[in-house]
Each structure stands twice: as C-alpha cells, then as structure tokens.
Symmetry: C2
Subunit: 482 residues, 2 copies
C-alpha cells in the first residue's frame, strides 16, 4: 500500500478498525473518481476514501479525522456541478454509498427517512406500490442526502418546491464526530397539507432555531448528512405534458408569467431557447420547430386538468404560441422529459470533444425576458456556445456552456461570460445561483451577493460549527489559508 | 426624570441624541406596557423604552447598548403568547412602532418589503386596490416583522404556509449594531409560482447558508428585524366558508385527513371541540350544535371551488358529519372567522376574572385524533377548563387554558398539564410548539425535543452572533447567569 500525504499508517489502521479492510481505499482510480464531479472543475483527489456502513462508523471516522486535523469531504454520487466534492486540501473522502437503507416509511403521514446512499430514483422505485412519490428532480440520479446538502431543485419545483421545502429533519455528524438531529431525534413535525396532487407540504414548528435549513444547502461545510427525513406526495390522479413553440423569448416567458398569475398549479414549465431545442432535436431525434419553446406538465384530477390546460392554452395562444403538442401516455411523456433531461448531453453533442459547464442564475420573474434576451446577445457577441434551458416558473435558468478545455482563451471567455451573467442577475435583484450551489465556482460572486456583513455572519457560523475548517474546506466561503 | 438601574444619564443622553427627546421614554406606564404580552407570563418591564425611526437609529442605539452591555428587547405589538417581550434582565426595549413604512411593492413579482411597525392588517389595507394580499393570519393584528421573529402561522397556513415560507429577505441589526441582509441587500430571489389562488410561493436560491430562516423564529435573540420582504398572493377569484358538526373528534379529524389526502387545496380547516364551540356560541351569539366542529374555507376559481366543495362534502358526510352550513358572502364569512378569532375571548368569558393561556403543540396528522382524545380526558380528570381549537390541517392545536391567576394550586395544575401535553406530543414524534414559539415558557421542553447536541448547536449559534448575550436574553435557550 502507498503511504499518502497527511494520512499516516496509524490513521489508516484506525480507519480499518472502524469500517473494515474493504471500507478503506487508497487506489488511484478510486481517489480520482471521488475527487471529480461532472463539471469542468478539475479533479482534486482525496488522500483516501472511506466507505462507512452506518452513522456510528461515520462518527468514529470523523473523530479520527478531528484528532488528526484531516479534511473531510462527504461524497454522495458526485453529480454536482460546482466542484463540491473536490478535495482542494486533500484529506479523507467519506463515500456514503454503502449506507443505502430506506427507513421509517410512514405512508399515512407522507414521510420517509433515507440514508445517504439512497438516490431519488431508488427511493421512487421503493415507493412504487405505495401510491406515493418524491418529486424533486434535478435531472441526475443524485443521492437524496446530497440533494439536501446542495439544496437541489429541478423541473418540478414550481409545484412541489425544492429540497428546502421538502426536508423535515436531518441527522448530521459534526466536525468533532458528534451526532445532531436538526429537528430533534425521530421528529416528523407535521406536514402542512398532504395530498395527492398538492401543494405546499411544509414542516411546521416554531421550536428554536431552524437548524434543518441551516444544514440544507451547506454543501458539506458544516457536517456530514447521514439521514434525511423527506415529505412525500401522492401520485397525481392524472398527468399530461405538452410542448408549445413561440415566436420570441418574450412570448414564451410572458406565457409562463400569465399562466402562473392565473393560478394554474402547473407541475413543470421548462423553457428551451432556439439553440437548445435544435440541440435536443438532433440528439433525441425530435422535430420540434427551432424557436423558443415551453415544455409543460399538468398534474391533478381529471377535471382540474381540463381547467388547467384550457387556461394555459388560452394564454399561450394569446401570446402567439403554437397549438399544444400533446404527450398523454406515460411512454410519450417519459420520452419528452428524457429529451429535456438529456439537454446536457445534447449540448455536449454540439461540439464533440468539448466539455460542458452549466451556469445557473435566478431573477424575479418580471425580469426574466430581459435577462434572457441580453444573455443571448452576450453569447453571440462573444462567440460562445451556450444553449439556454430553464425552470422559468421560478425565474431560474441555465446556460449550458460547451467549451474546449484545451483552449485557454475560450475557457477565459466563458469564465468572463458567467461572471457577467451572474452580475446581470444580481443587478436585477436576483441571485448568482438558483440551485447548483456555490461550491468552488461562485465563492467570489457570493460575496457580491451577500455583502461583507452577510459573509461575515456566514463565516462566523462556519467557524463555530467547524473551528478547525475540516468540513469540505474551501467550499462556499473563500478563506485565507491558516 | 428617574434614574434607572443599569441605564445611566450618559446612556440616556446618547439615546436622546440618536432618536430625539420623544424617542426615549422612562414613564412607568410605558415601561409596564412594553414588558408584558397578552399571556399569563408576568410583566417584566424594561428600564427604558426607545422609539427609533429608521434602521440607522436602531443600529446607533444598538451600538450604545453594546458598548454598555445593556440587554435589548425588540418590541412589535406585544401580542406574543410565550413571554417573548418580557425584560427578564431589564435593559432597553426597542419599540419599533414608529417605523411603519410599506416599501418596494412589486405587484408584478408578488413581493413587498415592510418596516417593523407595519401590522398584517395595515399591510392588507395598503394592498386593497392591488388585487393582492398577505394571507398569514395568527389572529392578533401582529406586526409582520414580529411574526417573522416568532415564525408565526395561523388559520391559512394549510394553503399558504407559515412565515418561514413567506419571508424572502430580512434586514437585521445584530448585537454589535451592524446591519445584515439575510439574502443580500435588496434581493428578492424569485418566487416559485405566484398565483391568484395558489400554492407554494417559495424563495429559491442556493447561495450560501440560509440566513433568512435562521433569523425567522429566532424571537429577537439573534438580532432586531428592521425590514422583512414578503411574498404576496393574488386574492382568489372566489371564497366560500362552511361549518360542519361531527359526532366525535375522530370523525372530524378523519374528515380533515381524508380531505387533504384527496388533494383538496383547502384554505382553512379549523377544529373546535364541544367546549370551544359552546364558548363561541355564548360569546358570539351563535347557535351551532355543541359537538366537535370544523370551520372550513375554500379559495379558487368558481369551477375549482365546486369540485373542492363536492369532494369535501362527500368526505364529511361519509364520516357522519352534518350538512354544511354555508357562509358565502363576505359579511357572513367575516362573522364566522371573527367568531373563530374571538375564541380566546370566548374562552375567557367562560370564567370571568380569570386569565387565559394558550398552549400549542403539533403532531404528525395520523396521531391527531389520539392526542386530542387523551388531552380531553386529561383536562376532565384534572378539573381544568381548556377548550380546544386547532389548525388541524397541519396537526397543530391549542388548548385555551382559562385559569384563576390568584389560585396557585390551579396555576400549578395548569403548568403540569401543559408539560404533559407537550410530552405527549413529543412521544408522538411531534413538537412542543407549532407556532407560538419557545419564549420563556417552553425552554425546558425545547431541550427534551432537541436533545443535548441540538441544544448545544443552537447555543453555539447564539454565542457566535451575540457573544455578550444582549439580544432578548433568557428567551428560547436556558442559560446559567454569567
């Protein structure tokens, strides 16, 4: 075995005594795999990867790391986009894939608790016969605890919310190895509304500080999430999807705003610009008109579906939209959404050999047409390939930048473009990231967004919970090396 | 002028130079008024009351307090129920009633920013001609910033959420007088869905730690909220209310659960037990049958209303409920909900000369019938007057304890009862407070709910943001005197 920097033989044998020979890996390939995500951020392998099997092992391993001042990098599926699993200071990657139990399903209260190895698809497969599902869907088959850590979102958020609204409790191992339950152990404090098709399932309590939402979105920098209690939803009685083409970005976005303002409880409303729909057509063998396009999905009772669709169609047509192209049966609907979820690969296919980087900003809805139009102009002016797709129902959109990683000049242009895009969003009262998180890529922009006092408050929270800066160091907050 | 303990002449003149002669009050009556809430917690007057007119004055006053180590007690309307405004260690009450501007209304993005003197009724009066409203309604005409501080909720939460889901940004003056914007200055990061009648209006961002939700519910112990940016909703096209009587608690609660499970996006569903409905009948000159009762309200389009009502009626009748007694026009609806909101006074009227104390717990919905039945038995066994009313749609209910404050033996029995009730909720995976907060009254119960590590994390957050324990000391967390 190779000796690795910072992690001595004593530490390794302590690790092995906790999670077994097979629970500790030094192999080059394993380390590589656990140091890179699917983005352009370069791989930063950890010194060692450990594979704990339960929270007690996570806690014991964390205590060893704490004693020896070794960085800890929690790892779910590595599907994040902002470099969140890179081991920028080396250290120990905690791969949580062997903790894959679904625990404590309470169908009558619409909640379930999962370990960090459980992905969203695995949970929904587990739930198949219960009539329930977990709708938050960022595209990738991410681990649910990882989705909590990054405050993930996705195409269903307009109706079902993001992870922030769907996490009821977390079990977290802190930097010193102690175990905390953010809403108290075993608590599932009530759901606000439940429902087959609905609505705002909220965790209701006013007991003390909201620790759950402090850890949701903390990106592994405050602790390791080892369990998450989630709210579930009833599978809607009926679902139908449709595609609608528009003469302009403005027409598509206006339709979105008006549909929401009309109170249509739309489940998904996704915008694809002309470049994106062209890429999707090529990649997924589709033949939609190459113009700004909305993918829509409606959930509800048969009767409410009729009312929703009628209102939405009236609105899109008054904005010059095409007739709806329907996807009613499950297979056609799945094909439609697969095409949307494959947008990443469709964008990549535009320039073989290149890498993709998905930026992500979010603005108040009324500013959306302006920012998309300006951003498209910016892309053209700077000769960049960046098809646009977005969860426009909540003002959030992505540019899927396709870039040649061997062309530093182009990489630099992309970098400047994404900074301009984020600053454009900030200038419109928006945020530099709607769902991807800060990670490595957006730490400087977070400072601009929050201002110095806000950053100072965040830093003081980090210092309090992780005084030695061991938890996923270097992410979210920039800090001088000690 | 009287010299007061801890607040010397130098401090007073510093205060006067900041907010003027009239902005500083030492009068006995004023101090009394600012040291008591509407509950049984005894009045703890502050040494002095200041009336700042803007955030700069709040900041300057806080700096003086910080320098002289004087406790700060933020004061909105004093309508809280857990002793949150009592000056348990003396100090300076910051009455924020003179900061009463409604700022930055963005009707197109459904958001508004308010200063802490603006109450929910004042905001809704301001919005009257816009077609928008702010639905969170805890009963009292509380200040909106105070509602954010206590994470208030109320009868509409089942559809519109609590303050946690409706606060998008906060301006907060910290213990050292610095000013922080929890989501960055001026940011209104997107709404998830907007809508006339809907649904889950969520703040979407994954930029750094969620500071907003750290301050929502912090009850003045982490800082003084000087502005809150709220999401607004379109006034529904149609609203209708109804009353339905049931043969048993179980039948009423089962109807609630089934109505929610059927996906009816009900706006309010309030339970009143037989004792409560009897009290309301007497107080508000009504004549409802004296049995477990639901007050319901539906919001939506005319067509969706029909569907909602039909489903709800089918369900209540299958559970042995009476025919709906309708309140269709605004006046009748308002009379109905006034009767519900007057439950407090109706309970008080059961025993003239007594005081009321409203307890508040929350459990997973499936446990609600059991806890209510057990609680009623407990009340009878212990000869206590405690009509029950609750936001049953989210598993949250109150016992309005009516108690003779001059009878220490009865006060003690009430105290033991409320502890048993909270522990009963905790044993059912619930929480010791759904919406009233911890304040003074529930600090010991919070420890049981959270466990020692959770409390330690909360305490470390408090120590970080308020190292000298000046911000509303003694609330939420119990602590040894320094």
């Amino acid at each position: 075995r190779t000796q690795v920097s910072g992690v001595g033989d004593g530490v390794l044998s302590a690790f092995r005594s906790i999670c077994g020979e097979e629970g500790v890996s030094l192999g080059e390939a394993v380390r590589e795999q656990h140091g890179k995500d699917e983005s352009v951020h370069r791989c930063r392998p950890p010194d060692v990867v450990v594979f704990p099997r339960c929270v007690e092992e996570v806690s014991a391993l964390a205590k060893v790391c704490h004693k020896h001042r070794l960085p800890i990098i929690p790892f779910g599926t590595g599907t994040g986009l902002e470099g969140g699993v890179g081991a920028v200071k080396g250290g120990v990657c905690f791969s949580l894939r062997n903790m894959e139990q679904v625990l404590d399903l309470h169908p009558e209260d619409f909640d379930v608790t999962v370990e960090p190895g459980v992905t969203r698809k695995a949970l929904n497969a587990y739930l198949r016969d219960t009539g329930l599902w977990f709708p938050v869907d960022p595209g990738a088959d991410a681990s649910l605890c990882g989705m909590a850590a990054t405050s993930a979102s996705g195409t269903n958020a307009v109706r079902y919310g993001t992870m922030r609204e769907n996490v009821m409790n977390l079990e977290v191992v802190l930097a010193d190895g102690s175990i905390v339950h953010t809403a108290g152990k075993g608590r599932r404090p009530s759901l606000l509304s439940l429902l087959l098709s609905l609505v705002s399932l909220l965790r209701k309590t006013s007991a003390g500080y909201n620790l759950t939402n402090l850890f949701v979105g903390s990106e592994g920098t405050l602790g390791i999430i080892t369990k998450t209690t989630l709210r579930l939803y009833g599978i809607p009685e009926a679902m139908v999807s449709a595609v609608c083409s528009f003469p302009s970005v403005q027409a598509a976005v206006d339709s979105t705003v008006q549909t929401l303002q009309a109170g249509v409880p739309i489940a998904r409303i996704e915008f694809l610009d002309d470049v994106m729909i062209d890429a999707c057509n090529r990649f997924s063998s589709l033949s939609y008109p190459v113009t700004p396009t909305l993918f829509l999905e409606f959930h509800g009772s048969e009767q409410s579906l009729q009312e929703q669709v009628k209102t939405a169609e009236d609105i899109t047509q008054s904005n010059g939209g095409s007739d709806f192209q329907w996807a009613r049966d499950t297979e056609t609907r799945n094909r439609l959404w697969k095409a949307r979820h494959d947008a990443w690969y469709a964008a990549l296919a535009l320039r073989p050999g290149c890498k993709a980087y998905s930026t992500d900003v979010c603005v108040p809805l009324s500013r959306l047409p302006q920012i998309i139009v300006e951003t498209k102009e910016d892309l053209i002016e700077n000769r960049l390939t960046g098809p646009i797709a977005g969860h426009v129902g909540d003002g959030n959109f992505h540019c899927l930048m396709v870039v040649d990683p061997n062309n530093p000049e182009e990489m630099h242009r992309v970098h400047l473009f994404t900074e301009r895009l984020a600053r454009r969003a900030l200038a419109m009262d928006g945020t530099c990231t709607g769902e991807h998180g800060v990670g490595l890529g957006k730490r400087a922009l977070l400072c601009e967004e929050m201002g110095p006092v806000g950053i100072q408050v965040m830093r003081s929270l980090k210092d309090t919970l992780d005084p030695n800066n061991l938890m996923n160091p270097g992410k979210i907050l920039q800090r001088e090396e000690p």
